[in-house]
Amino acid sequence: MEENVIHIRNLTKKFGGFTAVDHISFDVRRGEIFGFLGANGAGKTTAMRILCGLSRPTEGEGTVAGYDICSEQEKIKRNIGYMSQKFSLYPDLTVRENIRLFGGIYGLSDKTIKEKTGKMLDMLGMQSERDQLAGALPLGWKQRLAFSIAMVHDPGIIFLDEPTGGVDPETRRRFWEMIYDAAERGVTVFVTTHYMDEAEYCGRVSVMVDGKIAAMDSPDRLKSSYNAENMDEVFRIIAGRAGREG
């Protein structure tokens, strides 16, 4: 069934006289990997915060996971997963404690948490590291653990904010394989990245410039319509037109 799990119309956010997000509209289908690209300061983070129910739009309407972004923010938060490079795990808690904590935050029962913990550790191959402090893990493992934890409550949509920054090339790719796995299970993935090769892994990408969506399509179609060899080139053509200083 083709179903839009994210449905946004004329979303606008103003900070005083500054319009960070300027009337953007888009839909994301269930199970889609949607790349949300844009230069620094183009308004990506602001838009993403609204979608995650962390901030209210100045204008516009929309739904995420079937809930209204203006009036049902708490329900949105319960039904999405969120992972960012900046904050994801408590470094001074062990792997198991982190899983427990986030399971608890999302209101899972002790029994479910226990089951999930076992499964998750098996899947990540981290059984022997379960009592290590999360802060002591290699970056790549942290990233994968953080992703699994963001999925602990089986959300229908997961928001990933630059999940792979600074990670080594192999781990970066293994991480994307986890994303693919999730998408195959029907989870909708909404991801931002600065790596343009990762943009190619998305089903569709949008490029934000100066608060507006300047282009939105599948990577293949974008490449052919901009007559570019890769997404890097596409991005530079589109984002290069920005009026705001980068």
Binding site: G38, A39, N40, G41, P138, L139, G140, E162, G165, G166, V167, D168, P169, E170, T171, R173, W176, E177, Y180, E184, H194, Y195, M196, D197, E200, Y201, P219, D220, N230, M231, D232, F235, R236, A239, G240, A242, R244, E245, G246
Partner: protein
């Protein structure tokens, strides 16, 4: 010609964690030398040791011919350093920051205006704005100006492009090329493998060890296996299928295609395509390609870890 940077067998540990493990590097005067590796590989520690901010546990080194331990005071005069984080005074204006750092190094902005003119002219219209209120790209330019204002002969840039978008990153490397043209040696680190091509020479670093060094061309030509770029419609399934085929050493997605590292003595393009169509992947295309730095990094880190 003496090397601008010459370090020998440098090691450094923090408690039990070994951050650097016997690092040796030689950087010629006037080149852009890239230190490439993921976060946590020890890049920042190496920078701090070379900029005399930290003492190595063992090993020796020199910058501009001066010892990094004994002659630290003289090295500090001759080098410019831009740390990984934006490290300027957010509550001071652009001009105040620049003036202050010029004074610290016993010079004035006026005296060395020629050195920074090209970059500074881009932020000069905002000279009275507080540094904290600048956009990311402008902050980066200001930090670069502050590191250059005393005309250093060696410039250390620790991850200058992290968290910066693709367009600004390209601009930044263009600036670096111009700085290099004025005779400054540049030692730069980055986690972005695609920036490697902009460097004259590279060192690949992983878990505190150098796993490869040379010009980008040398590193690429040392790749010992065959490499195929494979495209198809069901990319993720294709990836899993490819990994199971005989002769395939590794397979990873690279943008819109998969890079398949294979052993030429066991398999080849035609053979792989045949096995794929047998498995139902009939619409696949494949072509032999040369490796990029990222392929090499993955191969070298696998080799360092004893995997391949």
């Amino acid at each position: 010609m003496t090397a601008a940077i010459d370090i020998e067998n440098i090691s450094k540990s923090y408690g039990k964690v070994r951050a650097l493990d016997g690092i040796s590097l030689k950087v010629d005067a006037g080149e852009i030398f890239g230190l490439i590796g993921p976060d946590g590989a020890g890049k920042t520690t190496l920078f701090r040791i070379m900029t005399t901010l930290m003492l190595p546990d063992s090993g020796s080194g020199s910058v501009c011919g001066l010892d990094i331990v004994k002659d630290y005071a003289r090295i500090r005069r001759l080098t410019g350093y831009m740390p990984g984080r934006f490290s300027l005074y957010q509550d001071l204006s652009v001009k105040e920051n620049l003036d202050y750092f010029a004074t610290l190094f016993g010079t004035t902005v006026k005296e060395n205006y020629g050195t920074i003119k090209e970059i500074y002219s881009q932020i000069e219209p905002f000279a009275d704005r507080r540094a904290g209120k600048l956009s990311g790209g402008m902050k980066q330019k200001l930090a670069l100006c502050c590191a250059l204002v005393h005309k250093p002969s060696v410039l250390f840039l620790d991850e200058p492009t992290t968290g910066v978008d693709a367009v600004s990153r390209k601009d930044f490397w263009t600036m670096l090329a111009r700085i290099k043209a004025s005779g400054v040696t540049i030692f730069v680190s980055t986690p972005y493998m695609d920036e490697a091509a902009r460097c004259d020479r590279l060192a690949l670093i992983r878990e505190g060890s150098i796993i490869g060094t040379g010009t980008p061309r040398e590193i690429v030509s040392a790749f010992p296996f065959g490499l195929l770029s494979v495209k198809g419609s069901r990319m993720y399934r294709l990836l899993k299928e490819l990994r199971g085929l005989p002769g395939v050493i590794s397979c990873f997605s690279f943008g819109d295609s998969h890079h398949v590292t294979y052993d030429p003595s066991v398999t080849g393009k035609e053979r792989l395509l045949a096995s794929l169509s047998e498995a139902g992947f009939t619409d696949c295309t494949a072509r032999d390609i040369g490796p990029c730095i990222e392929d090499c990094f993955m191969w070298l880190s696998g080799a360092a870890a004893g995997g391949m």
